[in-house]
């Protein structure tokens, strides 16, 4: 061996020795050599285990563990250790006492003291009533709406070439009848939902619920125009009213239900499940939720309220929120040339004979969609109402709130249950091939409107029926989590035969931060989240509110054998990101075709825009494209309440449900360049579109009634005023398309700034700085400030402007300043030639307030009802108002007959 080799071997030995020494000294203190024992805890009985019984260790906190689990206990350097066993509280069971046990080194300590006992009821019986956790029994409580968010004058729809119009007026909670009092009152603004949200406080504190806002009532008035006279009818209600609900696919009248039947429907439809650990019941009865159980007073009181003809603040209907009355006739000019129309119209006409020739629909916030006759047997009367599933979901909770909130007498809290606008239109039933038979149907499509906030059931609501303030069972607590949800929904009824309405699809979602809870029904079948087609309906969970009237039309798409039409029902609203959102769904079954969030400028991120959407909701106008005469959705315009104006073409991608991937943001209209925020010019009524024959061809024009801000303040003569903006969209697009092509991104939107001192594209603001009551033309259109005279007595639009023989006609009302705070109403019809500068034509009606909209009848008369129950009118065909031509009357072409062919044999 060499000397060096021996040296290496010595080093090796030293290293090995050191490693050994380290192991011997330190390993006993390490975990690997720590002393250990074992603990096994058995829980009984099995029912308690099934109910969720667990055990755990305190200090250190370990667990929870299931019955029979063996826990390895680290004793450290000790030979034994004391441990405290605690058992989990479960509803309906007495929890075993805490147990201290000693676990010894290398031994298993078995404990069988975890014996749960059935807890006795409050009534001291034998305790057979278990407190169980059942998924379907938790209820959420809707928060009452503090106040509605709209003007006292709610939305109206302006009718063209018809003989009826309808409008609704409200009775305030204080009993004032707005119709006879002060229908028009621009200073009446209401607070937002936050007020109620705050006043409820945090859940679990057993706060007394403050008295919710009381319901509003409403009147519905139908105005009939015939050759002889104009007559008004206040809608009446029969002593025996009908309330339909959908009961597993068939329509039933709950007014004739007995207590059990009523409870069955409520149990099935009115319970919103939530997180499982927050559910409990204290009865093994069929009706787990005690207030749906055996006290028929609850449900019968609620039903009596719905059926009552004078208990909604003295009236038969609650307020309509944003829901406009809609009249529908058998004929529909937009589908006249489509196959199968003639026999369909004949069928409808026969149905409508007993309804006065047309049907009037009105949604109201107690949750009912009312169907009225028009003038039949010299009156207008409700025939039935329908409590659609999304409304039924919340309606019973009005009774809860009334009983627990301490509201006295017959007064009810106000909830936004069915305050969304409706549309009524005709569609074909879905065809897979072009050879399938065509079958038409008539739909009412509507939404719940504004969102309703939900919170967990109040602690003091767990008492027995009528025993207000009874606390929860000892070992059951409501969650301390403060989570509020939002309820929203959509419904579609088939009203082809108005005597046999049928719910065909409904969607409801309770949206919570921790998850969404859906109730989706299509043709009586429930769509569960586990179903393969659930994804096509889950869009309901994104909807926060829809206040814009839905619209219906069709697009073409390839079928299995040729082109087929797909019918769309389109909703424009606000999603839970607080962005505008377009949901395009199949009108026949509610399935989502496509959806699109409209972020960026067309969104609101602050309460000002939120309030603006609530007060002046987004408007749409599906427009007849040039060369078409059927309701194809290739040219749809949307005027968002932020002042952003978009164009959608739904007929661009037939292979993908005609999804609109790139809507055109044509215009942004603002009325205040400075200040916070820079508010968009929202529409004060529906806007209208037409085609005009110009020197350079057929051009698309739009007329937008918008709000603007006049200099000054609310008291000093300033404030929000009304104006009319007319734009040549064809010219605008032609120019801006070029600009867009040349300078990418700079062509759109075209910025219209209506602030006289502001800056925008073109001269829009400067033109009205003197508040002149004159049409002022512009490169792309014209502008009209609505006032009686220059710089004096502004007017508000009462009806939507309607294009009529190249003019715009509408009704307006204002207050005439007579000095020393003396003001009287002053109304005016406008007949505006938007292409000629100067003062518009108009019929002035001093001392009257127009209410509820306007109608252009078949004789060419523009008429508007007045607040005193009468009406005023002007003859648009007279020379005084431009001698306008009624629709279908002026060319002299003989339309009485025609020859298709001759044949000689």
């Amino acid at each position: 061996m060499s000397k060096s080799f021996r040296r290496i071997e010595s080093v090796k030995l030293i290293v090995i020795y050191l490693i050994f020494l380290t192991f011997v000294l330190f390993f006993p203190a390490s975990k690997g050599w720590a002393k250990e024992g074992f603990l096994q805890v058995t829980i009984s009985p099995q029912e308690a285990i099934d109910a969720g019984a667990k055990w755990s260790i305190q200090d250190p906190s370990l667990g929870p563990f299931s019955s029979g689990y063996t826990l390895r206990v680290d004793l450290g350097s000790d030979n034994n250790k004391d441990l405290t066993i605690v058992y989990k509280d479960i509803a309906g069971w007495e929890t075993p006492n805490t147990d201290v046990v000693k676990v010894q080194k290398d031994k298993t300590k078995s404990i069988e003291s975890g014996v749960y006992e059935v807890k006795e009821d409050d009534d001291g019986d034998d305790g057979d009533d278990p407190v169980t956790v059942e998924l379907e029994n938790w209820t959420n409580w809707p928060l009452p709406s503090g106040t509605p968010h709209y003007w006292e004058g709610p939305l109206s729809f302006s009718y063209l070439n018809r003989n009826y119009m309808a409008y609704i007026t409200f009775a305030e909670p204080d009993g004032n009848d707005i119709q006879s009092d002060s229908y028009y009152d621009e200073d009446y603004w209401w607070s937002g939902p936050q007020w109620w949200f705050d006043s409820w406080g945090t859940i679990g504190e057993d706060k007394t619920i403050p008295a919710p806002s009381k319901v509003w009532g409403s009147f519905l008035t139908l105005v009939e125009s015939n050759l002889e006279q104009v007559s008004s009818y206040i809608a009446q209600f029969p002593s025996s009213r009908i309330i339909y609900v959908d009961n597993e696919g068939s329509t039933s009248d709950i007014s004739s239900y007995n207590s059990d039947e009523l409870n069955t429907v409520l149990r099935k439809k009115s319970v919103i499940p939530n997180l499982i650990d927050r559910w409990f019941v204290q009865s093994d009865d069929v009706w787990k939720n005690q207030y749906f159980k055996d006290d028929s007073d609850w449900t019968s009181d609620w039903r009596d309220y719905l059926l009552g003809t004078s208990n909604k603040n003295g009236l038969a209907m609650e307020d309509s929120g944003h829901g406009t009355p809609v009249i529908i006739w058998p004929d529909n000019t937009w589908i006249k040339t489509m196959e199968g129309y003639s026999s369909y119209e004949s069928q409808l006409s026969s149905y409508y004979n007993n309804w006065g020739g047309a049907v009037l629909f009105q949604p109201t916030n107690e949750g009912l969609l009312h169907a009225f006759t028009t003038v039949h047997n010299n009156k207008v009367e409700e025939k039935w109402s329908f409590l659609s599933t999304p409304a039924l979901k919340l309606s019973i909770y009005k009774e809860y709130l009334r009983k627990f909130a301490g509201v006295s007498g017959l007064e009810m809290p106000r909830l936004n249950i069915l305050g969304g606008p409706i549309t009524v239109n005709d569609i074909e039933k879905t065809r897979d091939t072009s050879e399938d038979n065509i079958e038409w149907r008539r739909l009412v499509v509507g939404t719940t409107g504004e969102e309703t906030y939900l919170k967990f059931k109040e602690r003091n609501a767990w008492g027995k029926a009528g025993e207000k303030g009874v606390a929860l069972p000892e070992n059951v607590t409501t969650s301390n989590l403060y989570e509020t949800g939002i309820s929203s929904g959509i419904y579609a009824l088939d009203v082809t035969n108005p005597d046999s309405p049928k719910e065909i699809w409904t969607l409801h979602c309770a949206n919570f931060p921790s998850g969404n809870y859906y109730d989706i029904s299509v043709n009586g079948s429930e769509i569960l989240s586990s179903d393969h087609n659930f994804e096509k309906y889950s869009y309901c969970g994104d909807i926060k509110m829809i206040l814009c009237r839905p619209f219906i039309g069709y697009t073409n798409k390839p079928g299995t054998n040729g082109q087929v039409r797909i019918w769309h029902s389109v909703f424009v609203g606000v999603d839970h990101d607080n962005e505008y959102h377009v949901w395009d769904v199949n009108a026949n079954n509610g399935e989502l075709l496509w959806e699109k969030q409209i972020p960026g400028p067309a969104s609101y991120t602050n309460l000002d825009y939120l309030a603006q959407e609530r007060l002046l909701p987004t408007r749409v106008a599906p427009s007849l494209p040039e060369g078409e005469n059927t309701p194809i959705l290739s040219e749809v315009y949307i005027h968002f309440s932020t002042g952003d104006f978009y164009k959608f073409n739904f007929q661009t991608d037939p292979e993908n449900n005609n999804e609109v991937k790139d809507p055109k943001h044509l215009i942004r209209i603002t009325y205040k360049e400075t200040g916070t925020p820079n508010l968009g010019a929202a529409a004060t009524h529906d806007f209208d579109v037409t085609l005009i024959e110009t020197e350079t061809g057929i051009h698309r024009f739009v007329a937008l009634p918008v709000q603007i801000e006049k200099e000054g303040n609310w008291i000093g003569g300033g404030g929000i005023r009304n104006a009319l903006v007319v734009i040549d969209l064809t010219k605008l697009e032609k120019d801006r398309d070029l600009l867009e092509a040349k300078e990418t991104g700079s062509g759109y939107p075209y910025n219209i700034d209506l602030d006289p001192s502001g800056s925008g594209d073109g001269d829009w603001g400067g033109g009205w700085g003197d508040e002149a009551n004159n049409v002022q033309t512009n490169e792309y259109g014209s502008f009209l400030f609505l006032a009686v005279e220059k710089q004096q007595d502004e007017m508000d639009t009462i009806s939507a402007p309607i294009w009529y023989d190249n003019h715009l006609v509408f009704a307006s009302t204002g207050l005439l300043d007579e000095g020393k705070k003396k003001e009287t109403y002053y109304s005016r019809f406008y007949v505006v030639d938007p292409f000629t500068e100067g003062e518009p034509m108009g019929g002035e009606v001093p001392g009257e307030a127009f209410v509820g909209g306007a109608l252009i009848d078949q004789q060419g008369r523009l008429l508007a009802p007045t607040g005193d129950g009468g009406s005023s009118e002007i003859d648009l065909t007279s020379d005084e108002y431009g001698a306008l031509s009624p629709i279908g009357s002026s060319s002299g072409v003989d339309a009485e007959t025609g020859i298709i062919y001759w044949q000689v044999e």
Partner: protein, 185 residues
């Protein structure tokens, strides 16, 4: 040497006569045919006029009763099932022409559904959009696609379609005239 031959002139005359006779026969035949054709045309025109008068009578009746025509769709197995009726079920009274010519006029609705093959039935047409009747109301009037913006000028008036069949008969000859007409409701 040259020698005169007797009887040559007679032969020539005979030949000329034969030719003339043949030509006369041809001319006579042509003339007879012409006369016959002219008569046929005259007869045809008479029948045509008669049939057309039947069609016009039917159109006048349809127009005169436009408001009370029963335009509901019918289920048909025979031509009789689609004969036009008024709302009170009264039929088209028919047409009578004075003189020798007989005219039979029938009016059939085109708004029907056939339960079996019907010989001579008109094509099925539920309704027909009539142009005119307005100043092209898509221009300058509301184009808002909603049933309650009742811009009837966009689609024109809606008409119902009828087939008028008029058969004129005389002297074992007949003329059948069919006209499909649209009547505005």
């Amino acid at each position: 040497m040259f020698r005169r031959r007797k009887g040559f002139a007679l032969g020539l005359v005979l030949i000329v006569m034969i030719v003339l006779i043949a030509m006369s026969a041809i001319i006579m035949d042509l003339t007879t045919n012409y006369t016959s054709s002219s008569q046929s045309v005259i007869d045809n025109e008479k029948l045509m006029n008669a049939a057309q008068s039947g069609v016009e009578d039917a159109k006048a009746w349809l127009l005169g009763n436009a408001a009370s025509l029963d335009v509901t769709q019918v289920s048909a197995g025979t031509l009789a099932d689609i004969e036009v009726k008024l709302d009170d079920s009264s039929p088209y009274p028919g047409y009578t022409l004075s003189g020798d010519i007989t005219v039979n006029v029938d009016i059939y609705t085109c708004n029907y559904q056939s339960v079996s093959y019907i010989s001579g039935a008109p094509p099925i047409i539920e309704s027909y959009g009539l142009s005119g009747g307005g100043s092209s109301s898509r221009y300058g009037y509301s184009n808002y696609l909603d049933p309650n913006r009742n811009n009837t000028g966009v689609t024109g008036e809606l008409g119902h379609v009828f087939l008028v069949r008029s058969i004129a008969t005389w002297d074992e000859k007949d003329k059948i005239l069919k006209s499909m007409v649209v009547i505005a409701q």
